[in-house]
């Protein structure tokens, strides 16, 4: 029994060591260099094509990182990529982290596995009522001032006309 518990704890901690958060990885790049990592985050933007493969950017904890893969089909199961009013799919992406990837010359992760945890969705941002009110108020102020200004101009022109 004791052995089973110890094995279970070891498994959990080892799992924990892989699913580190992006902030930790980027704060200690040397420690994670060329290690297998697992990141949970939102897919954003789109799948980008380059000369030797494809790139996908994942946003995790407010930070972004690029994942590289030669196999485009991994992304076939993805339904949403994050953008304005669109929450992208939340994915669990695992791969090898490179602090200075010799092939690409940048900090990247070479993707091995992608799992969609939660599909994304469209989130329409509704117009807050106070904005409609403000728009109306400022609109009226603006038109009023415009009227005053035009009247002033006409008065000046009239006065000037009278003098000459």
């Amino acid at each position: 029994m004791k052995i089973k518990i110890i094995v279970l704890i070891l498994c959990c901690t080892s799992l924990g060591a892989h699913a580190a958060d992006l902030k930790a990885i980027l704060s200690f790049p040397d420690k994670f260099n060329e290690q297998a990592v697992e990141i949970e985050g939102e897919l954003i933007g789109e799948l980008l094509k380059s000369t030797d493969g494809f790139w996908a950017n994942i946003l995790s904890d407010g930070l972004g990182i690029g994942f590289f893969t030669e196999n485009k089909t991994i992304f076939d199961k993805v339904s949403y990529w994050g953008a304005y009013q669109i929450q992208g799919d939340t994915v669990l992406a695992s791969g090898t982290f490179y602090k200075d990837c010799l092939v690409h010359g940048e900090t990247d992760i070479h993707l091995q596995r992608l799992e969609v945890i939660k599909p994304g969705n469209v989130e329409v941002v509704s117009v807050l009522p106070f904005k409609r009110k403000l728009a109306k108020i400022f609109g009226i102020i603006c038109l009023t001032l415009l009227a005053i200004y035009l009247i002033k101009l006409l008065v000046i022109r009239f006065k000037h006309g009278k003098r000459t």
């Binding site: 789109e46 690029g66 010799l102």
Partner: protein, 494 residues
């Protein structure tokens, strides 16, 4: 002789400010239209509110302050200094309403960063920001880069000397054509041509990397504004690193360098002699500094494969030197650069680009003159007493390096240096690392935009305000602001 302003002077200043504010409102129609066509309802209202508010402010100024005196030099300086503050505050409104900023000060910071073509960001969740808000962020760089003043030159037909004052108040003390209005027209034309070229180049690269057409064009225009106006904003939290595209970075380098060069040089090369590239003093200084600083930087980060060295090192250095601020590095990477390489980047930022360009910093011309003057002085000591030695530099034409020129160069050199170091000390006061504080301070003052992580919503409020101040001082090159302060002080002396 101290300038004593009277009520008529203030009336004139605020009147012109009113006109400029209306000009700003006109620019706001662009993001408004984007929101309309892209069916972004909430942003539409954000810009509608701001548009009405801006027009109201402009009209209010025009109504309350009629044009009493002929606008002149002094008015121009005051208007330019004040204009930047007014514009950045108004420009912050749509940003704050977007809910992507933790406070209004953060939105003001971002707005000032845009108008000052800096590029330091406090925006949250940039990858989910609307098209229209992104349009506005990048438009502020265009407005600030080409100068609020250039737009006003078209508006200001009455003022005779004022037009010149505005131009100089804008830190562009070289005239391209004798008539300032013609100079302004030329700058607009050149910028427009480059805009078309840049949009085509960038959008082609993006389209072929899989981005859909209309997003490619938007990103292309935004990246053009950010590179040519050496601003450095990008529509992504990862900045240029998002694209993972070497061709895009190369194209960005081209436009960053174009934007960092003296508009006079553009004029000369287009209209007169292409050979000027080899003879020009600023160009020569640029080659020298870029070469030596890149060498120092590489020496610091030795041990990485060639591709990495070129991308990271060279791109960052050009981005720093031209005052753009684009980065292709990951979060947290820049502050882990070896100190020697970081120092090279700091020096590149301090120097900046050409005079009369969209870049900030001490400027190539002045740095070149300072070093040449020191060199000349050393030579003078080694020559027999009675010999008169006056050196020449070639900048479009051969010019004598007069004592006045040398004095002016040293003056700005010192002013910038004091601000650079001052801001660094303030950062240290808040507990940040000295080297990193200096870096961030230089980045703000020279309007670069590279960050080592200090700029964040969690940074102390006072530090945010200090950086806003530094961005403002750097963009207007101190002179306008000092004249304006002198103006105000003379009021109190009465």
């Amino acid at each position: 002789m101290i300038i004593s302003p009277d009520r008529k002077d203030f009336s004139t200043i605020f009147n012109i400010l009113g006109r400029l504010t209306l000009g700003l409102a006109a620019f706001m129609i662009i993001p408004l239209a984007v929101a309309f066509f892209k069916r972004e309802a909430s942003p539409f209202y954000d810009f509608l509110i701001t548009f009405f508010a801006t027009v109201s402010v402009g009209l209010l100024l025009l109504i309350l302050f009629p044009l009493r005196k002929e606008a002149s030099w002094m008015h121009a300086f005051f208007t330019v200094s004040g204009g930047w503050i007014v514009f950045s505050l108004l420009g912050a409104i749509p940003l704050y309403l977007s809910s992507h900023f933790l406070s209004f000060v953060d939105a003001w910071f971002e707005s000032m960063s845009g108008f000052a073509t800096t590029g330091l960001v406090l925006v949250q969740d940039l990858d989910h920001l609307s098209f229209s808000h992104n349009m506005w962020r990048h438009l502020t760089m265009f407005i600030g880069g080409q100068g609020i003043i250039l737009a006003s030159l078209s508006v200001l037909t009455k003022a005779r000397g004022a037009a010149v004052g505005f131009y100089i108040g804008e830190a562009r003390s070289e005239k391209i054509l004798p008539n300032v209005v013609d100079t302004a027209r030329f700058i607009w034309k050149v910028s427009f041509v480059y805009l078309i070229l840049g949009t085509i180049m960038f959008s082609t690269i993006l389209y072929f990397s899989g981005m859909n057409l209309d997003k490619s064009i938007f990103h292309a225009v935004w990246l053009f504004f950010a590179s040519f106006d050496t601003g450095g904003f990008a529509p992504n939290a990862q900045n240029m690193a998002y694209y993972h595209s070497f061709p895009l970075e190369a194209a960005a380098i081209v436009f960053m360098i174009l934007g960092a060069f003296n508009f006079n040089l553009h004029f000369w090369i287009w209209m007169k002699s292409k050979k000027e590239i080899y003879k020009n003093f600023e160009m020569k200084t640029f080659f020298l500094t870029t070469f030596s600083l890149t060498a120092i930087l590489y020496f610091g980060i030795k041990g990485i494969g060639n591709v990495a060295m070129f991308k990271k090192g060279f791109f960052q250095l050009i981005s720093a030197h031209t005052g753009c601020g684009f980065t292709n590095l990951a979060w947290g990477e820049l502050d882990k650069f070896p100190p020697l390489s970081l120092l090279a980047i700091i020096f590149a930022m301090m120097i900046g680009g050409g005079v009369c360009s969209t870049t900030g910093g001490i400027k190539l011309m002045r740095v070149g003159i300072v070093f040449k003057a020191i060199f000349m002085e050393v030579k003078r000591w080694m020559m027999p007493f009675k010999s008169v030695y006056k050196d020449k530099i070639h900048h479009l034409q051969d010019m004598v390096l007069s004592d006045k020129r040398i004095k002016d160069a040293f003056l700005f050199f010192v002013l910038f240096l004091i601000t650079y170091v001052g801001g660094g000390v303030v950062g240290m006061f808040f507990g940040y690392d000295p080297m990193l504080s200096l870096f961030e301070s230089v980045s703000a003052t020279a309007n670069v935009g590279l960050t080592v992580g200090i700029t964040a919503p969690t940074m102390p409020l006072l530090l945010k305000l200090v950086y806003i101040l530094q961005m403002w001082l750097g963009r207007l090159e101190f002179l306008s602001i000092f004249v304006a302060i002198g103006f105000i002080m003379s009021l109190f002396k009465k």
